[in-house]
Amino acid sequence: MRITCPICGERDSREFSYRGADVALHRPDPEAGEAAWDDYVHLRDNPAGETRDMWYHEGGCGAWIVVTRNTVTHEVIGSELAAEVAR
């Protein structure tokens, strides 16, 4: 599998470590209420199709990136710097 780091370019997946779905970028407001926090902390989707995951370019530039990929076709569709997604 090849992942394109927005800074380093296309790289082998061994240079990256996987964190999981990009929920960390969508942290609710402290006052958002129990339901929103329950969802954020405990509930995860398991989609067949497009996902947005956090990857860390540990063996490269050290950037956190958000990778859009398809779990059915294994297609890697795109990647963005997490710092810019979160902005």
Binding site: C8, R11, D12, R14, E15, G59, G62, A63
Partner: protein, 179 residues
């Protein structure tokens, strides 16, 4: 106080010449990490130019020449290899002179040796002279730069100097054995 004798990172390990590749240690007078604060990138680059003759490198690039080089080393940071620097306003700077093991791999077999160890595309079209990368050598984090047609600079953490030389030596022997 007696005179202390400084040992280089690869003392007793290098040089090596195996088949079409040689591996030698490079010792710099200083290695300084330079990280410009947001909004100060241009001023820091100008200051570097006047202090050591090379601009702050773009991602995946190095600037300057053998004794005075700046190599991109990650997001918003570069390592200056060679002359010690005076403090630069608008940049975080750290002396890392004794933190790195620096080697040069050169010769007609150099790229074949590296290709056994490093998971990036090393062909001429994608990794040219002046290009640099943060990548891995086996499982070790390195700074890699191409400094000539058949010449590469490799930097690993000093504590891993023995492993760096061992991995390169093994790959040099394997490439040489294929004739």
């Amino acid at each position: 106080m007696g005179d202390l004798i400084a040992k280089s990172a690869c003392d007793g390990l290098l040089p090596l010449e195996i088949g079409g590749a040689t591996l030698t240690e490079i010792v710099f007078d200083a290695i300084t990490s330079v990280a410009p604060w947001r909004g100060h990138e241009q001023a820091v680059s100008d200051a570097l130019k006047s202090q050591m003759g090379a601009a702050f490198p773009a991602p995946n690039r190095s600037t300057g020449k053998a004794k005075s080089r700046a190599v991109w080393s990650g997001r918003g940071q570069a390592l200056v290899l060679g002359p010690p620097l005076e403090p630069i306003a608008g940049a975080a700077m750290t002396d890392q002179t004794d933190a790195w093991a620096c080697v040069a791999l050169e010769g007609p077999a150099a790229r074949d040796v590296l290709a056994r160890l490093v998971p990036i595309d090393l062909r001429d079209g994608s990794f040219k002279r002046g290009h640099a990368a943060r990548t891995q050598l086996m499982h070790m984090s390195i700074v890699l730069m191409r400094t000539g047609a058949d010449r590469y600079g490799i930097m690993a953490l000093r504590s891993m100097a023995g492993t760096l030389v061992h991995d390169l030596e093994t790959a040099m022997e394997a490439v040489a054995a294929r004739g």
